[in-house]
């Protein structure tokens, strides 16, 4: 393989940061003397930037999650009712599915009713899920909270760092609007420490942070 071909093959991994150190050293020295490969590097960086851009459409992951969770609960109800194997996810097209879907809904409904009857009779443990009207988990339902919105570019590692610095933890969120409910790490705290709020306000990665009600 000639030098240009080798460089050409390695460029994507330099562009995405996954190149081996030894290959990177060789490629850098090749690029120093090769305008053609430098131009290709620039082209690939543009392609990467275009692909890695966040979508402009507004997503509603919580609503989508609720739909999936309903499907999981329905399948569990069927499985526990008649010991049938867990249904595979529907794979057919929307139009092909309609008939089967109606049967599935009827079956799921009947199964759910049966399961509920048994469950009521047995006086079940508290549900393992929360509804939107339930208080978020955390340090008690009446404790102090901070409502916060992080910058769109903030990563999970940043959030962890911001929370560690301010002595707070996430009790719930993000909401559909991207709002997190934060509570003091110290479960017994009677109020949000002013220094915690000050840290959030001073951090450029935090777009909004104010004390709020659950």
């Amino acid at each position: 393989m000639n030098e240009h071909a080798r460089a050409h093959d390695l460029l994507p991994w330099m562009v995405n940061g996954r190149i081996e150190a030894r290959d990177a050293a060789w490629l850098e020295s090749h690029l120093d003397g090769c305008a053609r490969c430098r131009a290709e590097l620039a082209a690939q960086q543009r392609v990467r930037d275009a692909i890695a851009r966040e979508p402009t459409v507004e997503l509603a992951p919580q609503a989508a999650f609720n739909r999936l969770w309903k499907r999981i609960e329905d399948s569990h109800a069927i499985a526990s009712n008649d010991a049938a194997p867990v249904a595979a996810p529907p794979r057919a097209t929307r139009s092909e599915r309609t008939g089967r879907w109606l049967k599935f809904v009827a079956l799921a409904q009947a199964a759910a009713i049966a399961v509920l009857c048994v469950a009521l009779w047995r006086s079940p443990p508290p549900a393992a899920y929360r509804t939107v009207t339930d208080p978020p988990p955390g340090t008690g339902s009446n404790g102090p909270v901070v409502k916060a919105i992080f910058d769109d570019q903030v990563r999970l590692a940043d959030v962890k760092e911001i929370l560690a610095a301010s002595g707070l933890v996430v009790a719930s969120g993000p909401s559909e609007a991207g709002v997190y409910t934060l509570v003091p790490r110290d479960a017994g705290a009677a109020d949000i420490p002013p220094v915690a709020l000050a840290r959030l306000h001073a951090d450029p990665r935090v777009r909004f942070a104010e004390p709020g009600a659950r």
Binding site: H8, D9, P12, W13, V15, N16, G17, R18, G33, C34, A35, R36, C37, R38, A39, E40, A42, A43, Q44, R46, V47, R48, D49, A50, I51, A52, R53, E54, P55, V57, L59, P61, Q62, A64, F65, R67, L68, W69, R71, I72, V86, P89, P90, R91, A92, T93, A128, Y129, P137, Q153, R155, L156, A157, P174
Partner: protein, 199 residues
């Protein structure tokens, strides 16, 4: 936005593994957290691929359904994101096949440039690139998405696409050549690119 560094990816994977272990134990809140993270990640390429959000969501939910059921089977041989992306890849191909590729390959393959080199302004470069990508065969396009959109290594992409490493290299090679044909000005500084062609 540049691809995440290896360190950031490792930190992300550790977080994913902790969540997945809780999901394997039936923890709904952990599943919700994992879902929110991967909904965002998967929606980006699936919405582009299918061009319809409701189909993208269907694929995402099929994918995460499998994750919920198979979380306990994950052995940690790869990153969690590689595993989930592999599931999403197979689901996406099935969804596209069920629709006779009408969505993914609606744009005929042509060899004419989409835009002349001197018309490729910096401001709209990204739009042109995303448009040009719609002219690529699905496999080539997805190889680019996995490499540049998600920062996967060549070996990880081979795992995701269940193909040899050399096939990934070939797909990327052809994808890049096609983009170059469609967007002759992609490298920018046309003078430098052409003058360097013989170096």
């Amino acid at each position: 936005m540049a691809a995440a560094t290896t360190q950031q990816q490792q930190a992300r994977d550790e977080g994913d593994r902790r969540l997945l272990a809780r999901v394997a134990g039936g923890d709904r809140e952990a599943f919700r957290e994992l879902y929110i993270v991967y909904h965002r990640r998967l929606a980006r390429f699936l919405t582009r691929l299918t061009r319809r959000y409701e189909i993208a969501e269907e694929i995402i939910n099929d994918t995460l359904w499998v994750v919920w059921r198979k979380a306990g089977d994950f052995r940690g041989d790869s990153r969690v994101s590689t595993w989930i992306m592999g599931i999403a890849y197979r689901r996406a191909l099935k969804a596209l096949r069920a629709r006779s590729h009408a969505l993914a390959e609606a744009v005929p393959i042509e060899n004419e440039p989409l835009v002349a080199p001197d018309e490729l302004g910096a401001a709209e470069t990204s739009e042109w690139i995303l448009l040009a990508m719609r002219h690529l065969p699905t496999e080539q396009r997805l190889a680019l998405e996995f490499a540049y959109g998600y920062g996967h290594s060549c070996e990880e992409i081979a795992l995701i696409m269940a193909c040899p490493v050399n096939t990934v290299k070939t797909r990327l090679f052809h994808a890049r050549a096609k983009l170059r044909d469609l967007l002759p000005g992609l490298a920018g500084g046309g003078g430098e690119a052409s003058s360097g062609a013989n170096t």
